[in-house]
């Protein structure tokens, strides 16, 4: 077999991350439906190419912020899936010691500023981080991942204006999966949607098929290069689809079977498409199968570790509230 091209090797590595995200999300969903994980879980299945394609162009010192559907972004930025799974299980050595749970995963050591339970708030916070980059004269960029549900929140409009007037190194990534929770975004959005709104602030960007990993990767590479060169903010508008309901408490019965089947088919699914591309590049089926089984094994071990890990001591509920005036 001829040696892989640089691009094929890069895509193979990205496939590995996508596969880990998918296995993580399916396992998290099972654990939520099965009652092992409290609260609800918002699965990222079907949208993996966006987190992975974007984060492949970031450095550990760059910042990302996320939303309620944040597991994929965290893993793509480099967070440890085992610590994350422990967090979902509410365990003491989870990423946030069991205080955050699924919707509040964060890993500041790799620039992951947090998933966020309030729609659009991750984006405004990332803009603040971008402003800190400017104040501290650092060579970094900040990226916000948000869904199409966020585009009708006022603070996101404030954030777009803000990033532009201060010319911040800020990338807005809108993951358009068509739904704001259970409502069709198109039914509640006037005008030209996110892209028209971003452009009306003078922010340039690209529209991509968010299920096309190579397209996301290439577009992000171009936009981030412009950000790093001091070109001001940019956007990436990525069309995609979530295979599962809004969260594990949502029936998802507002979507037609036909719609779901169309989007989960091999010609739409971002992992199946990436695999097809790699096979065409000469990557062997065995290698692909190896990546799949490695991801499965990793997540199985994460679940086993999460189940076995100790719960936090109740006293931990009272730490890290604040330095002075802490609970007594």
């Amino acid at each position: 077999m001829s040696p892989l091209s640089n691009q094929a090797a890069r895509v193979l590595s990205m496939l590995r991350t996508m596969q880990i995200i998918r296995e993580f999300e399916e396992a998290a969903g099972r654990a939520s439906y099965g009652g092992e994980v409290r609260g609800s879980v918002h699965q990222y299945v079907g949208q993996e190419a966006i987190a992975v394609g974007v984060c492949a162009n970031l450095r550990p010192t760059d910042y990302i912020s996320s939303n309620h559907r944040g597991h994929g972004h965290s893993i793509a930025k480099g967070a440890d899936p085992i610590a994350m799974m422990k967090e979902l299980y509410g365990k003491a050595d989870g990423t946030c010691g069991g205080k955050g749970g699924s919707m509040h995963i964060a890993d500041f050591s790799i620039g992951m500023l947090g998933a966020n339970g309030v729609v659009a708030d991750g984006a405004t916070i990332a803009v603040g981080a971008a402003q800190a980059i400017k104040v501290l004269k650092q060579d970094r960029v900040a990226v916000a991942f948000f869904g199409d549900g966020a585009i009708n929140r006022g603070p996101l409009m404030e954030a777009l204006n803000w990033a532009k007037i201060y010319s911040l190194p800020m990338l807005f990534v809108c993951e358009h999966n068509g739904y704001a929770a259970t409502t069709r975004t198109a039914d509640v959005t006037a005008g030209g949607g996110f892209v028209a709104r971003a452009r009306s602030f003078g922010i340039e960007g690209e529209e991509v098929d968010g299920n096309d990993l190579l397209a996301v990767d290439a577009a992000t590479e171009r936009i981030v290069a412009r950000l790093r060169a001091g070109g001001g903010p940019g956007f990436l508008f990525a069309t995609t689809y979530r295979h599962h309901p809004h969260n594990t408490r949502d029936t998802g019965n507002y979507r037609t079977r036909d719609e779901i089947e169309r989007w989960t088919a091999a010609d739409k699914d971002p992992i199946a498409r990436t695999v097809a591309w790699l096979l065409a590049q000469g990557v062997s089926k065995a290698e692909i199968a190896g990546i799949e089984s490695e991801a499965k094994a990793l997540i199985e071990s994460a679940v086993a570790a999460a189940r076995a890990a100790p719960l936090p001591e109740p006293a931990a509920a009272f730490t890290d509230v604040q330095d002075i005036g802490a609970p007594r």
């Binding site: 205080k99 955050g100 309030v118 402003q131 800190a132 980059i133 501290l136 900040a142 803000w162 002075i324």
Partner: protein
């Protein structure tokens, strides 16, 4: 060397000194540059430190606060100017759901060292949306520190302490105090957050207050002294955490506690002090605890209407006199 400064000038000096001391300190908000803030409390600082450290912003309260949050977790120490406390409600989500909770939700991975400055109180005819005293709202939120300086010295000392604090500080300056003068020692140590100021000593009654009401209470204490009633006047300076030790020690000695606040009495912070004192000292009380505060009405515009909502020195004197007359 001590100098005579206004309350606004004292705050300006404090920010100037902290920005000199620490390059991570910066300020953002509406009308800070040429205008120098509502009361000149930022006057000349943009010329000195440049537009990237004294940042004029659009009227975008959500984004102003979120920028502070994002920039705080990304290594800076922002001073967030929200002008009127009434307008800070436009940034309540960013304050309550983000600034106050990030350290906790993420298990101490990040701190949010920001100061959110908001002008409170009646200044004479600014009516319902520019006159509120909102301190109790913020005290209720775990994670926040709440400071309310009443003198030029304390505005200088507390603002520096707030900027050096690693947790978010809600910093409430009273509009009626901007132009009052008092001694300020530029070289004094910052005023410790959580420590009250014993304004007068007395054995007959403990009078607890904060912010603009300190002036009314001082007048009342003077009048009461002429009647032979010794008032121990305590200005809390910080509401969360409040100086429980100083207040309870005083009440244990005087046996009488009167709390005077400008804010609405119902559900106000005075109720918390009264409850704590009653729980801890019921057997030492020589009269029922009393509270004075505004009626539960919006602040009206016309002078007689506004006056009807004010706590006056006369009311404080008559209430204190009644309490001492009921001497057991």
């Amino acid at each position: 060397m001590t100098m005579e400064l206004t309350y606004a000038e004292a705050a300006r000096l404090a920010l100037d000194q902290e920005m000199e001391r620490d390059p991570r300190v910066w300020a953002l908000g509406e009308d800070l540059g040429p205008e120098g803030g509502l009361a000149g409390q930022y006057k000349g600082l943009q010329a000195k430190f440049g537009p990237d450290r004294i940042v004029d912003t659009p009227i975008s309260e959500s984004m102003i606060m979120a920028a502070g949050v994002g920039a705080a977790v990304a290594g800076t120490r922002p001073v967030v100017e929200l002008r009127f406390a009434d307008f800070a409600m436009c940034a309540a989500d960013e304050t309550v759901n983000q600034a106050a909770k990030i350290r906790y939700m993420f298990n101490g991975q990040a701190r949010v060292p920001l100061v959110a400055r908001q002008a409170v109180g009646m200044r004479g005819g600014t009516a319902a949306q520019h006159s509120q005293s909102t301190e109790a709202w913020w005290v209720h939120i775990p994670g926040l520190v709440v400071a309310m300086p009443a003198t030029p010295r304390d505005n200088h000392g507390l603002l520096r302490a707030a900027i050096r604090c690693d947790d978010p500080v809600i910093y409430l300056e009273h509009k009626a105090l901007w132009n009052i003068k008092g001694p300020v020692d530029p070289d004094a140590e910052p005023v410790a957050l959580g420590k009250a100021d014993r304004v007068t000593r007395g054995d007959d009654l403990t009078l607890v207050t904060w912010s603009g009401m300190r002036l009314e209470c001082a007048k009342a204490a003077e009048a009461l002294a002429k009647q032979g009633i010794g008032v121990e006047l305590i200005d809390l300076r910080t509401l969360w955490p409040w100086d429980r030790d100083m207040v309870l020690d005083s009440v244990a000695r005087t046996g009488r506690l009167l709390i005077a606040q400008e804010a609405v009495k119902i559900g106000g912070f005075g109720a918390e002090i009264a409850a704590e004192a009653a729980e801890a000292l019921w057997d030492k009380l020589r009269a029922p605890i009393r509270r004075l505060g505004a009626p539960r009405t919006p602040v009206p515009f016309s002078l007689p209407l506004e006056d009807a909502c004010r706590v006056t020195p006369e009311q404080i004197v008559s209430t204190a006199t009644e309490m001492v007359a009921s001497r057991s």
